[in-house]
Symmetry: C2
Subunit: 171 residues, 2 copies
Amino acid sequence: MEKGYVHVYTGNGKGKTTAALGLALRAVCAGKKVYFAQFVKGMDYSELKAEILLDKLTMKQFGRDCFIFNNPTEKDFKMAEEGLKEIKKVLWEEDYDVVVLDEVNIALYYKLFNLDDFVHILKNRKEHIEVILTGRKAPEEIIELADLVTEMKEVKHYYGKGVQARIGIEK
Amino acid sequence: MEKGYVHVYTGNGKGKTTAALGLALRAVCAGKKVYFAQFVKGMDYSELKAEILLDKLTMKQFGRDCFIFNNPTEKDFKMAEEGLKEIKKVLWEEDYDVVVLDEVNIALYYKLFNLDDFVHILKNRKEHIEVILTGRKAPEEIIELADLVTEMKEVKHYYGKGVQARIGIEK
């Protein structure tokens, strides 16, 4: 099996989680098995239903039902830590082809788990696994080790016009 | 029904078509009906199979089986023109909630059809339709009329390392 690469989608523009979802869909279409984990957030997003529609996709959330804007709580730390334990199993022992760690950059930014631990888990994964890391504020070390990095740059956003996040579009 | 907005995903980084695919998936998960058109390209991408996996998704291609890198041929013009005619019907008469026009920015850049004609069709669409326009080199007029614009900026790409486009990841 060929070597898998590490992608990072970061920056403050819309399209990071969405691109990860698109990659998951494309991979499933090609018969690949995909694990899609969301860190930091645990809201009831439409995309969670993708697991029902797509056989080869597993969706998991390791966050509370609100985004962390400021100080993470003890529960945030606990859930992220449990998530990381699960991810280690997925990357080291299970048989996925593509693993998405959505918002993991934010988890690292808030130090919900240790960067060195995370990098250790990532670097020692089954070699063929393609890994997608998303979220603003990707740490320098993550940019460094990634094979592909795209910055989603916000040029214009309708949130500025007062448009709220809408079901099926943003959530 | 609420007003739909126009998104643009442009720039030279990876993630534009992929984000559009992700948005299509999220919309379908929320019960929306999605039309996904690819201009300029007609290759056998994995994502075309998404139509089989997802009931509410329609995929169409209006391009030849290679990307236009330089001078478009007569066939490129003809296919794009036919595509635009179809898109007019989709946006004005049919009952889709989300319409993706993948690589339409490139079609406009190569003047495969007229910008004013395109803008006319777009502006007079059924008001509730959310429209997603992708591709490098989005014309200024398109940026101007869009409600949301993200530039996918290439920070690092493995194509530089000699990695080829892979089935289920890039195509």
